[in-house]
């Protein structure tokens, strides 16, 4: 299975289109209770200009894996595997070498814009800083570029806004400034980690628009990390679904949304209340909760929540394997059983928590 996976993912040195290549990335944090395995062997490739979404619930490792790419993990983290940007390995780079790439070749947008903006400088100053850090231009040139960037992300009256401090702006406006800073040096990759989660929906629409504008302007590839399947549906071409620190399904957007081959992805779609449907049918939740990432037992981590689970699932953790096409991978022993199955057929419409069901079973058995 291992060999198969490697064939699927291919080797990239020959492929000039591959910008970022993450291979078998693992990240763990030592704690009092044992080692938290936040990311457990994640591999993916990002091609030039592509928009890739990483979707998963809290604690699935989606943010940690991107922080690892940016070299922004806390000192206590143990990282292994390989991360290559344009063929060059990023892991083990010194802080200075990383700074050359960060903000220049790869830039990142965080959920909370206040963490990435300095409250004591104007946004214009911060934008100009970003431009000057990696470009040889005059101060006036940098200022002009700052105004232009603000206009690009849709901030009204950029000539005036450029001299505002972050606290004088609203949340949506700030996030657009962060996007402007991220695109200041025409990066090759923009990583956006839950860029709109803290924002209201109407503002979210504006920020996503700004993100699209930034991509169109710079031609950068986008890694969009979110828990919102709606946001992913509109802004990504390819999706990685993460669960318990691993990729459990990878495929084109249509593959994942219309032909999911991993029960988790299917369940996730089935558990969403739909804005576009008037039917008052019951939702089909995935019972239980994601596993604890400390002392994770062997086997597929989705087993206790999975309606398809068999004994083999308790023992062997499945790898990503090709399903209906070589670009659509799923990590499930029984992915073939999911062809043409709807969430409603697989998951029940229960409202209870699984351990109650277990104890009820026990009572019946006695």
């Amino acid at each position: 299975m291992t060999v198969k996976t490697n064939i699927q993912l291919g080797r990239s040195e020959s492929d000039p289109d591959v910008l970022l290549e993450v291979e078998n990335l693992t990240v763990s944090f030592p704690t009092d209770d044992g080692v938290v395995n936040a990311v457990r062997g994640v591999s993916y490739q990002l091609r030039r200009g592509e928009a890739m979404g990483i979707v998963g619930e809290s604690g699935s490792g989606k943010s940690v894996s991107s922080l690892a790419v940016m070299g922004l993990l806390p000192k206590s983290a143990r990282v292994s595997g390989s991360i290559r940007f344009q063929g060059e390995s990023l892991l083990g780079k010194s802080e200075n070498q990383y700074a050359e790439i960060r903000g220049n070749k790869i830039s990142m947008i965080f959920q909370d814009p206040l963490t990435s903006l300095n409250p004591v400088y104007t946004v214009g100053y911060q934008l100009a800083e970003a431009v000057l850090a990696h470009n040889d231009v005059s101060k006036q040139g940098a200022h002009d570029r700052a105004v232009e960037l603000l206009r690009l992300v849709g901030i009204p009256f950029p000539e005036q806004r450029v001299s505002n401090y972050p606290h004088e702006m609203s949340g949506g406006m700030r996030q657009r400034v962060v996007i402007a800073i991220a695109m200041a040096n025409n990066p090759d990759v923009i990583i956006a980690d839950e860029p709109t989660t803290a924002l209201d929906v109407t503002v979210q629409a504006q920020v996503l628009e700004a993100l699209e504008a930034a991509r169109a302007e710079t031609g950068a590839a986008l890694v969009l990390i979110t828990h919102d399947l709606g946001v992913i549906a509109g802004h990504a071409e390819r999706i990685c679904v993460m669960y318990a620190g691993k990729l459990v399904e990878v495929g084109s957007i249509d593959d994942i949304f219309y032909r999911p081959r991993m029960p988790y992805a299917l369940g996730l779609l089935g558990s969403l209340p739909r804005l576009d449907s008037s039917s008052k049918q019951r939702l089909t939740p995935i019972t239980g909760a994601p596993p604890s990432l400390v002392n994770l037992p062997a086997g597929c981590p989705f087993t206790p929540r999975c309606p398809l689970a068999q004994d083999v699932c308790e023992e062997n953790e499945p790898n990503l394997v090709a399903t209906d096409s070589s670009a659509h991978l799923a990590a499930c022993h029984f992915h073939e059983k999911l062809v043409g199955v709807s969430a409603r057929q697989l998951f029940s419409t229960t409202s209870a928590d699984p351990d109650l069901i277990d104890s009820a079973d026990q009572e019946v058995a006695q």
Partner: protein
């Protein structure tokens, strides 16, 4: 690292896998050992080596002060025939010019000083917690009145006031404890009020109000327990300053008075002899420093251990 599965990477692979006894299934959700908050606090505290050491030393000092007098051959009032002898096997800390055994005197002095210090901490903590909780919970007028009164007390040089008050009463230890404790209470009150102001805005307090809980119930069930960590840390630090305050007061002649004794009294009596009979001054001094230091380290350790911001992460 060629195998992309976790087994190679996960250091936990060798550990036994927990299974749920009820279902026989592999337990995945609660793999972290169930630990109470007390246990977590203990673990964090035990990692603080200096604090653990201090705790041991402090407990030994308390044992020494309260059990020691019963075992030692001399009472602190006993007048031995040896006058002004330096430390020896018979008198480990020497004797003073009247023939009092200094070891017995230090035991008694330490006992009195610890008693006073603990009482000060207890009175200040209970009073201050009440003060701060009421002030922080009701806000507005009540808060203003209580806090301005606290400010007023805090501007008074407490040692001078304590000296003046103690002078009017007989110098028994509990009077001193009440006075010093009362004067320290507004300090605790201010800290507790700060905590309560933030806790009262939490949703669980609002939930309690929505359930119809009375103000007293909210304060006792929700506010005080959640401000507990701060209170405990403050209490330990109060013990240290209590020891020092008692010492200063007795040193000035307003605290515990002879024939009873405390570390402060012993220092006062010994200061004149610091050059001729240094043991009369340095032994009580050493114990004052020991108590104050250990209690401060203990407070530091408790603060780190009880800090809710502290994660389980290890560095």
């Amino acid at each position: 690292m060629t195998e992309p599965t976790t087994k190679a990477a996960a250091p936990s692979a060798g550990k036994p896998v927990a299974t749920d006894p009820a279902t026989g299934r592999v337990e995945r959700e609660f793999t972290v050992k169930d630990r109470s908050q007390f246990q977590q606090t203990m673990r964090r505290f035990l990692r603080h080596k200096l604090a653990v050491g201090s705790l041991i030393v402090f407990l030994l000092l308390v044992l020494f002060a309260f059990v020691g007098p019963h075992l030692w051959k001399y009472q602190y009032t006993t007048i031995t025939p040896d006058n002004s002898v330096p430390p020896s096997m018979k008198h480990p800390f020497g004797t003073d010019n009247l023939g009092h055994d200094m070891f017995a005197q230090v035991l008694r002095g330490l006992q009195q000083s610890i008693k006073v210090a603990l009482s000060i901490a207890l009175i200040a903590t209970v009073g201050g917690t009440l003060w701060g909780t009421i002030s922080g919970y009701y806000k507005g007028f009540v808060d203003n009145a209580l806090m301005r009164f606290a400010d007023l007390i805090l501007t008074i040089p407490s040692l001078a006031l304590a000296a003046a008050l103690a002078n009017n009463f007989s110098g028994s230890w509990w009077i001193i404890a009440i006075i010093l404790g009362g004067l320290a209470a507004p300090y605790v009150g201010r800290v507790v009020r700060g905590m309560v102001l933030s806790i009262r805005e939490r949703e669980y307090v609002e939930a309690a109000r929505a359930l119809g809980a009375s103000d007293i119930r909210i304060m006792l069930r929700h506010l005080v327990p959640n401000a507990f960590a701060v209170v405990v840390v403050n209490a330990t630090l109060l013990v240290a300053s209590g020891i020092l305050a008692e010492t200063s007061l007795s040193f000035l002649g307003f605290g515990v008075r002879p024939p009873d004794t405390s570390l402060g009294v012993l220092i006062t009596l010994g200061q004149g002899a610091v050059n001729t009979r240094p043991w009369l001054f340095y032994f009580p001094g050493l114990f004052i420093i020991l108590v104050a230091l250990t209690v401060n380290f203990l407070g530091d350790g408790l603060r780190d251990a009880l800090d809710p911001q502290q994660t389980r992460q290890r560095r």
